[in-house]
Amino acid sequence: MNNQLKVSLPGLELKNPIIPASGCFGFGAEYAKYFDLSCLGSIMIKATTLEPRFGNATPRVAETPSGMLNAIGLQNPGLDVVMSEKLPALEKYDLPIIANVAGSCEEDYVAVCAKIGDAPNVKAIELNISCPNVKHGGIAFGTDPDVAYELTKAVMKVTKVPIYVKLSPNVTNIVPIAQAIDAGGADGLTMINTLLGMRIDLKTRKPILANQTGGLSGPAIKPIAIRLIHQVSQITDLPIIGMGGIYTADDVLEMFMAGASAVAVGTANFTDPYICPKLIEALPQRMEELGIESLEQLRKEVRENRR
């Protein structure tokens, strides 16, 4: 019974598969006022870069039907503050942390990956090569297989913890990129990051976001995430942490059936700050109704049924 929700991935022994997604949960402290973070499977902390960043001008968010756009621009206090303040503050929870790492060039990524794994609670790194909201780096690393391969290899050399590479959905064909990352030696994949979108303010006749474009997230993109996870899980054995529009226990199970081995929950935290504990609570009953013994069992079945 208790092991029903357990999933085991490289570096990550998770008591359940529910992980707040990077950028939607800060460094945990704010949500800790709402519930005990120890209930979570893990936390993907906000993207961390070598230097502190302010990010983009505001407005940074806009609403879309069943979705939202964001163009935060990777605002974060920088590696040093994350290491000295943000990560230690999470040590009191019984929780493996996944550190989301971003950069403007290969050296930046390497520098952060070399160090952030030193934090005792960082059990894995999520390499963000798919942020659509920064001019340099970000998505550029995630749309070219060769670049993705080189970057993966470079960070694999320096890291002490497993590396999960976060894929962009803004590509014609995701397969060669996933293959390149696999070949580069990554331990897993996370997907999907946001899709590039825009909203225009009818009164000003200009884009709502100061950055003009932003990343689309939320249930609107769920069918795209499902398709991409399904597609990638057919061509690689790397475990996939799935995300994109998860709001319900059914969504979690749909991602598993598509090929995910754990899931991250982003936008839903804004709609309901208690969504993660609610999902953890709702899963067992829904699994029983659908005749799913355990998530590990479901993962096995899905893998076996691949074409």
Binding site: G23, C24, F25, G26, E30, Y31, K33, Y34, K46, P52, R53, F54, G55, T58, P59, R60, V61, A62, E63, P65, S66, G67, M68, N70, I72, Q75, I208, G218, P219, T267, A268, N269, F270, T271, D272, P273, Y274
Partner: protein, 260 residues
């Protein structure tokens, strides 16, 4: 407790497009500071983001609170369709409100508001009155018809109006009221909420005043400090990398602190 399905006690239109909504629930116990806001989930499935709306008044005895909002887009439109006894998903209270602890009896205090920035100033004014301050309300509106709570404000202190079209009070914006009011005497505290133009005007007038406060707005997602959607730059930051989050470090800031 930080989130609740509150019960709608009443919803009435108090001016064109402007609604007064009274909510009841245990969450009211947490609502202590004027200037804080509620983060409201509009009951429409395709709208994911909550709407920040200021507390306009709090009644601990009745376990109710009031918000006043203007229908701007799809969310507030949908909100305006709710009726007595319907439930509403409310997070809050969020943010830091207006500091009033330092206010002494007979202090002359300016409350400067514009349009839909006026609601939070009502609870503020009630609390200042309890502290026996002499409150002067300087309120700017687009035109006579959209003025609300006039009687309520007059009951709490001197109240002056300006309208953009001159249909009530003096012609022009609240800055014109401020010029007149300062001639009578300088305030020991200033509180402002309204358009960016209004806030800039107050900032310019009281940039070094020790007790001048501005309530800011920003497009928000989480509303509680986790997503960095709502940041603003600091005036004293040469690196340009520092910021404050309007949702949890604001929405009220003293003048001289953030860049408007």
């Amino acid at each position: 407790m930080k989130q609740e399905m509150m019960t709608i006690i009443s919803q009435i239109k108090i001016a064109p497009k402007i609604f007064e909504l009274i909510l009841k629930g245990k969450l009211v116990k947490e609502m202590k500071t004027p200037g804080q806001f509620l983060h409201i989930k509009v009951p429409q499935a395709d709208l994911l983001l909550r709407r920040p709306i200021s507390l306009a008044s709090i009644d601990q005895k009745k376990e109710t609170c009031t918000v006043i909002y203007r229908v701007e887009g799809v969310g507030t439109e949908s909100l305006s369709l709710l009726k007595k006894n319907d439930f509403l998903d409310v997070m809050g209270p969020l943010g830091n409100g207006f500091d009033t602890a330092f206010v002494k009896p007979n202090d002359r205090v300016f409350i400067i508001g514009g349009g839909i920035g006026v609601p939070p100033l009502y609870q503020l004014s009630k609390e200042l009155k309890q502290r026996q301050a002499k409150v002067v309300h300087l309120l700017g509106f687009a035109k006579k018809e959209v003025i609300f709570y006039e009687e309520e404000f007059r009951a709490l202190g001197e109240t002056y109006y300006s309208t953009d079209d001159g249909s009530y009070g003096i012609l022009g914006h609240a800055g014109n009221l401020l010029v007149k009011a300062r001639k009578v005497g300088e305030p020991s505290a200033v509180y402002a909420c309204g358009s960016n133009g209004l806030l800039k005007m107050v900032e310019q007038n009281f940039s070094t005043h020790p007790h001048a406060y501005l309530s800011l707005e920003a497009r928000m997602a989480c509303g509680m400090g986790a997503c960095y959607a709502c940041v603003c730059h600091l005036q004293k930051d040469e690196t340009g990398t520092k910021s404050k989050k309007i949702c949890d470090e604001g929405p009220v800031f003293p003048t001289g602190e953030v860049i408007l």
